[in-house]
């Protein structure tokens, strides 16, 4: 820990670039990288096992040499996972649900983030009467395991003719995403100078204008976090998709689950790992590209003092 702390003391985000270059050789900087690489190793170890498992034939896996590289490497599990593994009567791999997953994840993410941001904005800046109470209850709702309240929701959705439809699954994701999204944005807006909001009020900005034209652009970093959370959560959701989406919109994860989950059937670990890795590609791409929107100092220059 002490190397870490001194490691931090030398390096700072705003360091002049050339000075930084001159300092890369300091032991502190080495400590920093050592920590990061150590952490990365911890995080990557399971991935390593997954990857090598996914390219081993089952015979080798049965031998139980977890960390050893494959003797006979094979990419077949990947092919099988994508297009050959059985998921019931069909044996077409996990690709079947890919489009459905996209159809679900895009609108669900957009709608839930929009509403979360809207709620957070209203709560932080407009403070409507009773809003805090409503938010408190909403937050509490985040702690209810949704399986417990599935029955009434299913009935309600059926009554609204939303059960088993695409809008239905979008709505249910929005509903279950709302507490956390609202919290995320509410707390983010707490750190934006209130004066900005005031200035916009003076400029005649109404509720929506201020939200759309000022606050949303300033929310970029937290939107990135929200996207990470929602894309991951919705992409990986299985039970809601299964229950609410309807047969025609079953997401990829239902196929994934069918591939890797079995009680009494045989398990093809290599295919399971490949399928899992394949399924996680979309969130991973989001993580990778999201970096450029983690902008620094988005409110810089706004207020003095």
């Amino acid at each position: 820990m002490s190397t870490l702390t001194t490691g931090l003391s030398a390096a700072r985000p705003a360091l002049p670039s050339r000075a930084r270059r001159r300092r890369t050789t300091t032991p502190a900087r080495w400590g920093l990288y050592a920590f990061l690489l150590g952490a990365a190793a911890f995080f990557l170890l399971p991935l390593y096992v997954m990857l090598i498992t996914s390219v081993k034939p089952m015979e080798e896996i049965r031998l139980g040499n977890l960390f050893s590289l494959p003797v006979k490497m094979t990419l077949e599990p990947w092919a099988v996972a994508w297009a050959g593994a059985c998921t019931g009567l069909q044996c077409e791999g996990i690709r079947g649900g890919f489009v459905n997953s996209l159809l679900i994840v895009v609108p669900s993410t957009a709608v839930s983030i929009f509403l979360g941001a809207l709620n957070g904005y209203a709560l932080s800046f407009w403070r409507p009467r009773g809003g805090q109470w409503l938010f408190g209850v909403l937050l509490l709702g985040a702690f209810v395991p949704y399986q417990v309240i599935m029955f009434p929701l299913v009935r309600a959705f059926a009554a609204l003719s939303l059960f088993g439809t695409l809008p239905g699954i979008v709505l249910i994701h929005t509903v279950f995403g709302m507490p956390v999204m609202t919290l995320l944005f509410r707390n983010y807006y707490a750190s934006i100078p209130a004066e900005l909001f005031k200035a916009a009020r003076i400029d005649g900005g109404g509720f929506w204008r201020i939200f759309l034209q000022l606050m949303l652009p300033m929310s970029l970093p937290i939107i990135v976090v929200a996207v990470i959370m929602q894309v991951t959560g919705i992409w990986n959701d299985f039970i809601l998709g299964l229950v609410f989406a309807g047969r025609d919109h079953l997401p990829m994860t239902v196929q994934l689950n069918n591939v890797i989950n079995t009680t009494t059937g045989e398990r093809l670990y290599n295919v399971n790992m490949a399928a899992t890795l394949l399924t996680s590609l979309v969130p991973l791409v989001i993580y990778l590209v999201s970096g450029r929107w983690f902008v620094r100092g988005i409110a810089a220059g706004a207020v003095k003092g």
Binding site: L196, R201, R209, A299, G301
Partner: protein
């Protein structure tokens, strides 16, 4: 073109009362300058007029309408925030035009007004910078510009020129005055700059700790301050105060008597009958003390410090423990250590009660 009137306004922030039953009438088209020490509540007052703070008690009227609880955008107000509060994600042009776009002003009208404000504020070359890429003074100018492009009924300026250089400040002062004449808007303007206050104000209101101490034309406030605080607050260097008492009435006139100093008060316009023997404070501004040949002298002192100011110099005298500032024309300053005589213009003094600190 609306009057602003404030009745018995109370505002607390946290537990502390910031404004206490404050009354203020600003006439239509008036240019009111608010003066007061740092932290006295000027910004708070502006924010409450703009509707950005909830009023605890009292009433605010703009143009005769009670707007105490009205929405900021319905008050027809343009405001320059002390902290600028620029929109960080919008460039300068957008910052300036934001309000106009909202109001649905026509595109080329927007362009015209933004152009005008930008050139007045010398921001033309910075229009597509983000606030974070501007210098302090440039940010302040954007803040001013954002208010100016609006054709508001009432403008609130919170130290709008404080971070600008003197030259630009002088230019903008002139532009603001002109704008005021053109638009006829009511303006409430906080500043710490005496020149601004004197040149811009139709009236000056002096605040202290959430209360208004005096309100009047610049010369009223400067020449006949209502109390010791106002007298001491305006003017730089500040008025010289001399403790003493009123002497007995002789030749149908009273004099001010202090240690080694006597000032005849025959010309002094007393507000109430002077009571001889009363403890009073006499105030006289540095420019009403002149360094003179010993013949006509009111007193004598030793020069302790000379501060050249360019156009003039401030000479600090020690008159037996009394410290006096005297304004002398540049180039005619005595050297430190010199013994000099000074003359005090009896027609320009102010007298205050020692106990109540009010003007006599």
């Amino acid at each position: 073109m609306s009057s602003v009137s404030i009745h018995a306004l109370n505002i607390r922030l946290g537990a502390a009362p910031i404004l206490e039953s404050l009354d203020l009438q600003v006439r239509e088209g008036e240019f009111l300058v608010l003066l007061g020490p740092s932290g006295c509540g000027k910004s708070t007052l502006l924010h409450s007029i703009a509707g950005l703070l909830d009023v605890d008690e009292g009433r605010i009227e703009i143009g005769g309408n009670d707007v105490t609880w009205a929405d900021p955008k319905d008050r027809g107000i343009g405001m320059v925030f002390q902290s600028y509060a620029l929109y960080p994600t919008l460039n300068v042009e957008r910052n300036l035009s934001f309000g106009l776009r909202i109001a649905g002003v026509e595109r080329h009208e927007i362009q015209r007004r933004v152009q005008r404000a930008a050139s007045m504020l010398q921001l033309d070359s910075l229009l597509d910078r983000k606030p974070s890429q501007l210098s302090g003074g440039q940010r302040q100018r954007v803040a001013i510009g954002r208010a100016l492009v609006r054709q508001a009924q009432v403008f609130l300026f919170d130290e709008p020129l404080s971070n600008l250089d003197a030259k630009l400040r002088a230019e903008l002062r002139r532009e603001l005055k002109q704008l005021h004449c053109e638009l006829g808007s009511t303006m409430i303007y906080v500043t710490h700059d005496q020149v601004e206050a004197m040149t811009l104000a139709s009236r000056i209101a002096v605040m202290r700790a959430g209360r208004i101490q005096q309100i009047g034309t610049p010369s009223q406030v400067y020449d006949t301050p209502a109390n010791l605080f106002v007298a001491g607050f305006l003017g730089s260097p500040s008025m010289n105060f001399i403790d003493g008492e009123l002497g007995p009435r002789t030749d149908d006139q009273v004099s001010f008597i202090a240690h080694r100093l006597q000032v005849p008060l025959g010309l002094y316009p007393f507000l109430q009958c002077p009571q001889p023997g009363r403890k009073v404070v006499l105030g006289v501004r540095p420019e009403h003390l002149t360094l003179q040949p010993p013949g006509e002298a009111s007193g004598h002192g030793t020069v302790t410090l000379v501060e050249p100011m360019g156009s003039h110099a401030i000479v600090w005298l020690d008159d037996h423990g009394r410290r006096l500032a005297v304004q002398a024309p540049a180039g005619q300053e005595p050297a430190p250590g010199a013994k000099v005589a000074f003359h005090l213009d009896p027609a320009r003094v102010s007298l205050f009660d020692h106990a109540t600190q009010q003007r006599l």
